[in-house]
């Protein structure tokens, strides 16, 4: 290749490669890796009122921690709090977040599949892009407005209660729709529906239709062909949908704070509380890191499943 005994770094292929990816790399480091790293570092620091004391400790995760206050230049213990995995409140909220996002994911993906199936199999090819375009219409308005609309729809004076009262099915407005877990699930499921539809649609589109004919040809009914051929082949898309819905909903903060009421609060609301009102950055960071670990654990499980489906049942 080269007659020089020493390969210089400058001008080499590796250097060119690094140069080419550097804008992306800088972007990724500055905007993704650095903030995450900071949160991780914060979570091991000690809380001082209006400041963070760079003293390493694990008690933000496990056991009991002390907050410090600057009193005339001397740091003095002010109060104690429990670390994330020792605090019943944090555990309850994390558990609830996990449950809510699992229910949301299940509802969203189950409702998205028939829509994606219909568009892929029954809509004329020339009309498919129109349909996909229509599916994205809810995105034209801000998410906040959509949440407020759900507030109106589900409220005691909203159309659902009004209609049920009018036809005499109920005597007084039902209150279990709004300001609890139900409204959070409904609002999130609606918001993430398009995200769930698209990956499933893509995986259904990729299925060679001769596979379905082969299923019928080999003696299976339309339903069994769906069960034995279509569904397994669409699984990568289903799993992508699950991840796309599950990951953002577990950390959602706007929806529970607007329609969740007291019993619909999720872990992100506790993070916010610690960062803002309580001014406890280390505990807030430890909460954030803990819920991220939760997401990662569930996601890895699904990614593992996905790889299995992508590979086929190779032995």
């Amino acid at each position: 290749m080269q007659s020089k005994p020493k390969v210089r770094f400058r001008g080499s292929e590796a250097a060119n490669g690094l140069l080419m990816i550097s804008p992306t790399a800088i972007y990724a480091i500055l905007l993704l890796a650095a903030p995450l790293g900071m949160i991780l570092v914060y979570s091991f620091m000690t809380d001082g009122y209006l400041q963070i004391i760079p003293k390493f400790q694990l008690c933000n995760y496990f056991g009991e921690c002390h907050s410090y206050k600057d009193v005339n230049g001397v740091l003095t213990e002010s109060q104690t709090y429990k670390g994330v995995w020792s605090d019943p409140l944090a555990l309850t909220l994390m558990w609830r977040s996990l449950m809510i996002s699992m229910v949301v994911t299940a509802v969203t993906v189950l409702l998205a599949f028939p829509v994606a199936y219909y568009v892929s199999f029954y809509v004329a090819p020339s009309k498919k892009s129109l349909w996909l375009f229509l599916i994205t219409i809810p995105f034209w308005t801000s998410y906040l407005i959509r949440v407020f609309l759900w507030k109106v729809i589900l409220g005691t004076g909203g159309p659902i209660n009004f209609g049920l009262l009018e036809i005499g099915l109920i005597q007084e407005p039902i209150t279990w729709l709004l300001y609890n877990v139900n409204s959070v699930v409904i609002t999130l499921a609606h918001a993430y529906a398009p995200f769930a539809i698209l990956p499933i649609f893509v995986s259904l589109e990729k299925i060679d239709r001769s596979f379905l004919e082969a299923g019928r040809d080999l003696g299976e009914s339309p339903f069994m062909t769906f069960w034995r051929v279509t569904l397994p082949l669409a699984m990568p898309g289903v799993i992508s949908s699950v991840l796309i819905v599950f990951i953002p909903t577990i950390g959602d903060y706007v929806t529970p704070s607007l329609v969740g009421g007291p019993e619909g609060k999720m872990v992100a609301n506790l993070v916010e509380l610690n960062y803002k009102k309580l001014d406890n950055y280390p505990l807030g960071s430890a909460l954030a890191v803990s819920s991220m670990a939760l997401v990662m654990a569930v996601s890895l499980l699904f990614l593992f499943l996905n790889r299995r489906f992508l590979r086929g049942n190779k032995r």
Binding site: R216, D217, L218, G219, E220, R228, G312, N313, K314, R315
Partner: protein, 370 residues
């Protein structure tokens, strides 16, 4: 290829009665009427868009028909869905399920089979052995080559012991060597299992090599249905003649017609009389012409004499193929070059362009189109 295998059961397996198929305004099948015998290797041959695949899919049940009747083994197939028809298909893309292993693919249709799991596994292994894939059962479907996929598709269809096996251009994705090998294997396999095979192909050579009978289709119609030899030697129209092999056309004038015998005159050939069976009556061609295959003319070398008739000719092009040499010649008094093929034998020279020579021919090998 015919006799022995098909005499066992000369009954009708498939019957088309005036089958029409419309896609909107497009008339894809225009009154197909034909019968396919049990145990026959039958081919649907035609250029792309002629309706041959559509016709095959009406047998499988993937395509409904607009009018007419499709019968399989004496039963009307109207309202019989694909999954209960006694047919199985080898798809053009093979349609090997990518999420299953080879043996899961082959055993796919056995779910409702009452046999025990062990017996089914044995049947799968036997089917794989039959198509030459012994020991491939545990492989992932996507790790197979094109030829192997095709064998899996065959095993998957044949394990269900269908009355009819449908093959939709199964060899078109294979390279030439592999294709020729598979042609032979398919013929052997068909003789071995005795199932009616229906092959769709656009490759006339493939159809000639493999079939007991061939239906040539153009624009939604069967234009000729015959055994390979008849199709090659006595095509019933210029179109069929053009589509199957090479056919030379020499303009001719019809002088008289007495009791079916036709007397014609053509430049280069002179006057000759043809039997009724040599005359193609299919309409559509402009003016009469004599058709002949490249191998029906033989170049006469020094000292050789014709056993029947001979004409003078000039060599205008030479194409050397190793075992064969193709010559383009102009018969004396004509302007259009005609293709002629000679087998190369030791000691016989390959002629140069411009050589004046003589060719031998026989009126019996000619066809008259009008």
């Amino acid at each position: 290829m015919t006799s022995e295998t098909s005499t066992a059961a000369d009954q009708t397996m498939i019957e088309f009665k005036d089958v029409h198929k419309y896609y909107g305004d497009y008339h894809a099948l225009r009154g197909i009427t034909a019968t396919i015998k049990a145990g026959e290797f039958f081919s649907l041959l035609g250029p792309s868009g002629c309706g041959k695949t559509t016709l095959l899919r009406t047998i499988a049940g993937f395509e409904g028909i607009s009018s007419g009747v499709v019968m399989i083994d004496g039963k009307d197939m109207a309202n019989v869905p694909a999954n209960v028809r006694p047919t199985n298909m080898v798809f053009q893309s093979y349609a090997i399920f990518p999420h299953l292993t080879v043996e899961q693919n082959v055993g796919f249709g056995l779910r409702k089979d009452p046999r025990s799991a062990a017996e089914k596994a044995k049947a799968v292994a036997e089917a794989l052995e039959m198509v030459g894939l012994k020991g491939y059962g545990a492989r992932a479907a996507h790790a197979l080559s094109g030829g192997q996929r095709q064998r899996v598709a065959l095993a998957r269809a044949l394990i269900l012991k269908p009355k009819v096996l449908l093959l939709d251009e199964p060899l078109s994705a294979l390279d030439k060597k592999m294709r020729e090998q598979m042609q032979m294997e398919l013929i052997k396999l068909q003789r071995q299992v005795g199932i009616t095979f229906i092959l769709v192909t656009h490759d006339q050579e493939e159809a000639l090599v493999m079939s007991d009978r061939i239906a040539v289709m153009f624009e939604g119609e069967i234009v000729q249905l015959a055994d390979p030899e008849t199709l090659y030697r006595r095509p019933n129209s210029r179109k069929v003649a053009d589509f199957i092999g090479t056919m030379n056309f020499l303009p001719a004038d019809i002088l008289s017609e007495v009791e079916g015998k036709v007397e014609v005159e053509a430049k280069g050939f002179g006057r000759l009389t043809l039997d009724a069976e040599q005359v193609s009556v299919a309409p559509g061609s402009s003016g009469a012409s004599i058709g002949f295959r490249p191998e029906t003319l033989t170049i006469l070398f020094d000292g050789q004499t014709a056993t029947d008739r001979e004409s003078k000719a000039e060599v205008v092009e030479v194409v050397y193929y190793g075992d064969m040499t193709y010559y383009d010649i102009k018969l004396e008094g004509t302007t259009e070059p005609m293709r002629l093929s000679m087998r190369n034998v030791f000691g016989r020279p390959v002629l140069d362009i411009g050589t004046q020579t003589r060719v031998a021919w026989s009126p019996g090998a000619l066809v008259l189109f009008r």
